[in-house]
């Protein structure tokens, strides 16, 4: 103890001596570090392949990238053919079997992969020569076989099936399709049908057409020597026959004429995927390119963007909301503002995202926001210098995107020169809240009702319906087939009849139910007591200790949560009162309840009856029995489902209760039910 004390004293003295830091102010930055941008070395082969080399000897490794900068290709009714090309490349060559090829790469601890118009490899520099040989051989003399084709086909088809219920994957594909159209390379979708249209010959044809050196760049970075690289690449890639890819004109997609919601139903979704999108015509060499990036950064770039601050930090609708703006020298691209949000707030999130887009396009951003955005770009620019690949990327961009030779040397000056007016103009030009497509992929039965009520700037936003492939469809129906003459009263009356009849139920003045559940190896005990005089007690306990308890006695009530007792508020009292009756349905035969329709509960069709804004219940359409109680709050919905009905004192009670609170699940087994006994007035004190 003593020792610690004396250390503390020393620390305090030390602190006093040097108490010149003022923690209440953010520290000032030092002078900007010096920026060194060096140029890669380069050479070109006669077949058109251009090679950029960055020597960097810090680590004994090397990376090789081959990029074929062709315009995008529409694959039409053979969409997916390029995936075959990428998978079938790199399976050895005409002279090396696939197994030997893979074995040798793995033996070197190296990796090599191919795209339909690209290739890359990473290895220790001691294996550089052999890696170049293998990459050249596999690229120039590929080994396309029917066997590999068939195997790949089965994998792609299984992969499509595996993705069938993947909400975010469905959403991202359909967002592209709706924006670009089904025939544009960026909008077309790979389906079972298009995969089945593809033959091995198509794969070879695609390779022959597009895997050609006219637009090819190779970037080599690492512990290598330029002269040796030049010699090696010439030797190995001289046999790549000179050719230019066929060219086609692309369809020209258009924005929608008025802002609208495009809804895609995904019945298993627990979150809605929202994207507000429009097309943009933006290239890296456009004069307002950097201003557009700044506008996007302020709106939705990372954790300090307006979307994040509004939808996550302020409203807590989502884990994150961001925006992005594309650029493309060959085609239109997209501006998107997006979020994954819980079902209950889908409509509100749509409105918030739209409002943010509208705001940034109509009012100037603040100087602070702009200087923060600039600082972010400047910081990223400086930090990217750590990677040797940065220099190569810059050189490549200058070459392929038509940028000035000194574009990156003057980058910081260009960023600093952007004004608030530049940002406003860019936002106006590229973010279109009046021509936006709001693509919502989610669970229609929970979110559509409110989505249809969305208004923006006093106008209602129309909802159009699409399938996952972007085909217009009818509005999905969730309330189909409610038979003629069935209403809430009939459903409730049928339920009452099914469990014992009105007279029998009315003879019951109280009951006691005891149930148990296992949670992470522990036993959870649930006890419920109810009477017909507004008395209710529910106690959940674990190993004899109450975890949560709610008690209502007439007009007053309290709850105890982990030892803390709180009196109930009026709203809570009236909510619990409505449920406190042994059979609350008896009190709703007066027409207060409404029939919402028929829904599917894990394969069982049930009538859903709504009692008030928070409470509804589901009744099996065949047996009339209640299968679930549903509580809906702004935080989400909780469901208790009931099965295994058995008779006790002439009434059918469910003996298995499954409670789902969001993703949490508890399975309670009822162990005891007492009717008209076992409950005393003391239980509610």
């Amino acid at each position: 103890m003593k020792k610690i004390y004396s250390l503390l004293v020393i620390a305090l003295i030390a602190f006093n001596l040097q108490a010149q830091v003022d923690r209440s102010k953010m520290p000032e930055a030092g002078p900007l570090p010096e920026i060194n941008l060096s140029e890669p070395q380069r050479f070109e082969l006669k077949n058109g392949l251009k090679v950029l080399v960055v020597e960097n000897h810090k680590l004994p490794r090397v990376s090789i990238q081959l990029i074929i900068d062709n315009p995008p290709v529409a694959e039409g009714n053979k969409a997916g053919v390029s995936s075959f090309v990428s998978s079938l490349l790199g399976n050895g060559s005409k002279s090396i079997s696939k197994d030997d090829f893979n074995e040798e790469l793995d033996f070197m601890g190296a990796s090599m992969s191919f795209g339909s118009e690209s290739a890359s490899a990473f290895a220790l520099s001691k294996y550089f020569t052999r890696i170049v040989e293998l990459m050249a051989d596999a690229s120039i003399n590929p080994n396309f076989t029917q066997e590999e084709f068939d195997k790949e086909k089965e994998k792609i088809l299984t992969g499509l099936k595996a993705d069938e219920k993947n909400v975010s994957s469905i959403a991202s594909k359909v967002q592209s399709t709706l924006a670009y159209g089904q025939k544009h390379p960026y909008g077309e979708q790979v389906t079972e049908e298009t995969i089945n249209n593809i033959t091995l010959q198509d794969v070879k044809q695609f390779y022959n057409d597009y895997f050609v050196p006219a637009n090819a760049y190779m970037v080599i970075i690492g512990d290598v020597n330029f002269k040796e690289v030049k010699k090696l690449i010439k030797e190995n890639f001289v046999g790549w026959t000179k050719a230019t890819p066929p060219s086609f004109s692309l369809p020209t997609p258009k924005d929608v004429q008025y802002t609208q919601i495009n809804f895609v139903d995904a019945p298993n979704a627990v979150q809605s995927e929202i994207a507000v999108e429009n097309l943009v015509n933006l290239k890296k060499n456009d004069p307002d390119y950097l201003a557009a990036l700044m506008a996007n950064r302020i709106l939705g770039g990372g954790g300090s963007g307006r979307l994040f601050l509004n939808l996550r930090e302020d409203k807590a609708y989502t884990y994150g909301s961001y925006s992005s703006i594309g650029n493309d020298k060959n085609s239109v691209s997209r501006f998107r503002a997006f979020a994954s949000v819980r079902n209950a707030v889908t409509d509100s999130a749509v409105v918030e995202i739209l409002s943010e887009i509208d705001k940034i396009a109509s009012t100037p951003v603040s100087e602070e926001e702009l200087s923060a955005a600039k600082a972010a770009y400047i910081g990223n620019f400086i930090m990217a210098l750590e990677k040797p690949s940065t220099m190569a990327n810059y050189a490549l961009n200058i070459e392929t995107e038509g940028l000035d030779k000194d574009y990156y040397k003057t980058y910081l000056e260009k960023v600093n020169a952007i004004t608030v007016a530049d940002v406003e103009n860019a936002a106006k030009k590229y973010f279109k809240s009046s021509n936006a497509r709001i693509v919502v992929t989610g669970k229609g039965s929970e979110v559509l009702e409110n989505l249809e009520k969305v208004t923006f700037k006093g106008q209602s936003v129309p909802v159009k319906y699409f399938d996952r492939y972007g085909n217009a469809v009818e509005k999905p129906k969730y309330d189909v087939a409610v038979p003629e003459g069935v209403d809430a009263n009939k459903v409730l009356a049928d339920y009452i009849a099914a469990i014992g009849g009105k007279a029998k139920l009315e003879s019951i003045t109280s009951y006691y139910i005891k149930a148990k559940a296992a949670v992470q190896g522990q036993e959870l005990l649930l006890e419920i007591k109810k009477t017909t005089s507004n008395q209710f007690m529910q106690n959940v306990s674990m190993m004899g200790n109450s975890v949560s308890k709610q008690v209502l006695d007439g007009d007053s009530g309290f709850m105890v949560i982990q030892g803390r007792k709180m009196d109930m508020q009026e709203a809570q009292i009236s909510a619990i009162k409505a449920e406190s009756a042994p059979f609350p349905e008896l009190n709703f035969l007066n027409g207060e309840a409404t029939l919402k329709g028929i829904e599917d509960f894990d394969g069982t069709k049930a009538y859903v009856v709504k009692f008030n804004d928070t409470k509804s219940a589901a009744y099996n359409t065949k047996t009339g029995l209640k299968i679930a109680d549903i509580t809906t709050t702004p935080q989400g919905s909780a469901t208790i489902s009931y099965t295994d009905y058995k008779e006790v004192s002439g009434v059918q009670f469910p003996f298995i209760w499954k409670q789902a609170m969001g993703p949490q699940k508890f399975d309670f087994n009822v162990t005891e039910i007492k009717v008209n006994e076992g409950v005393t007035a003391e239980d509610f004190k």
Partner: protein
Amino acid sequence: MKRNLFLSASLFCAALTMQAQQVAFEEYDLDNGMHVILHQDNTAPIVTTSVMYHVGAKDENPEKTGFAHFFEHLLFEGTKNIERGKWMEIVSSNGGSNNANTTQDRTYYYEVFPSNKLELGLWLESERLMHPVINQIGVDTQKEVVQEEKRMRVDNSPYGKFREQIGINLFKNHPYRWQTIGSLEHLANATLEDFKDFNKIYYVPNNAVLVVAGDFEVDSTKKMIQDYFGPIPRGKEIKRNKYTEEPITSTIKASYNDPNIQIPAIFTAYRTPANTEKDAYVLDMISTYLTSGKSSKLYKSLVDDKKMALQVFAFNNSQEDYGSYIIGALPLGNTSLNDLIAEFDKEIAKLQTELISEKDYQKLQNKFENNFVNSNSGVEGIANSLARNYMLFGDTNLINTEIEIYKAITREDIKNVANKYLKPNQRVELEYLPVAKPEN
């Protein structure tokens, strides 16, 4: 030439001509118990400041799970000197980036800045430790954000629950039985006091390591560290419970239905030793041997030759107290899940009865050499490795010597470890299934 604190200059030159680079660093303790590690590399004008706290999901009360991860959110809410909601803005408006992550063993926070903003990074991290504001509005907001994170990462995500299901079955006593994201119910019920208590116990300098890596000047940086972190009072000694698990002696069979999938999956999971044990490294090699790369045994046999699987994968999760080794596959065509298990077992049985070939052994060594060279390529990654090696392995210099551990592993070790840990009766078999089609 940069100053080298670990090796004499001549040795350093020799090391350069050899393969592996050496990561030079210096480490010391502040009086309040905070450990400090400095790694200087002036080649690019950037600097990382990071703090790792020795608190993860395994330190949580079983009835209050999710706290460690929740703090990773809460401690961005603001401090005495940083207004609520301004943290991210300060970082990005100074051209930096930041993030944090939580595991079952530790929580890690870091910023990367252009090197002229080093002091800012130190200020931010010292404020987080010294002056966090833990109030109702922050707690309420982050409770909802964490719910959305779980919906996105787990509940809406295909195959999102396999770790949770394996954890429950692999561990009965140890807190590794729950996942880092924890229980939303526990979080919903937690009070402000609960969070303040947790902060007081674990967010103390004697439970933390600070790393500064990148372009900086050593002496002035040490002074700044003392200025910003020195005045933070030491916390109480942390009492940690020791949990032991009985060995698994008969196969635990489990199944789970995921509404987000169409193709089932099979997982087999084995409980493995603490990450500091040599056997944990041997299991890394076994994992690589079986499933990493196109010529690995299981990939080659199941995906390539027999076309029984769409994918085969393995994870060797080394952790502080125990680890888990998980092998999984998605069937292709009419293959049953049992067929896949039988194929896993065939390859493992070979490991248990025969030595792997000399060539395969050399291949493994080459792969680990390659991983080692690549693992230390950026200062952000180096900072993380230094903190992890100090905190969870008790040896900061592991960043330079880890490769020696792999080199020392023999073919016999591989056979022995396969026999010791990978028997069918020592594992969990999890059938991960789609939700049954509703009857019409």
